[in-house]
Subunit: 86 residues, 2 copies
């Protein structure tokens, strides 16, 4: 099992699709940030789906680590509400 932080900068025309893909595998924690535990296999599936979707200046950064314990997270300001609308 891995722990992943995924951050994307996607053109408006594709962001809803990327969001939908990411939501199948990870937890939405900020407008363009997903986190979560994931198997190597599922991470590969996620990356393949994203590679088919990304175009032009889109950019997705995936930080992978062996366990969430490798990171401490601090939030400044309001954390995302469930009713967050894109």
């Amino acid at each position: 099992m891995l722990y992943v932080i995924l951050v994307y900068d996607i053109d408006e025309t594709r962001v809803a699709k990327v969001l939908k893909i990411c939501r199948k595998y990870l937890t939405w924690v900020q407008r363009s940030v997903f986190e979560g535990e994931i198997t190597e296999g599922n991470l590969e599936l996620l990356l393949n789906e994203l590679r088919k979707t990304v175009r032009d200046k889109d950019n997705i950064m995936i930080y992978r680590t062996s366990t969430k314990k490798n990171f401490k997270v601090e939030v400044i300001g309001e954390s995302m509400k469930d009713d967050f609308i894109l």
Copy 2:
């Protein structure tokens, strides 16, 4: 020394200021993402400056880890050019 990944979701009226603050301490790697090595002392200075700037629904997530070796980064799509304009 620490390694930090900072991701922000900031209102348009404040994003230039947050960008300016972050650039003093970290490297700009994607539209709303900064990374870099930083001392505990400088991280505290950075966080204090950001806390004074953040309002309303702004949100900044700071992932800190002891070393960059704790994780691997993969980029899908185009990585940010130096001439990137906000």
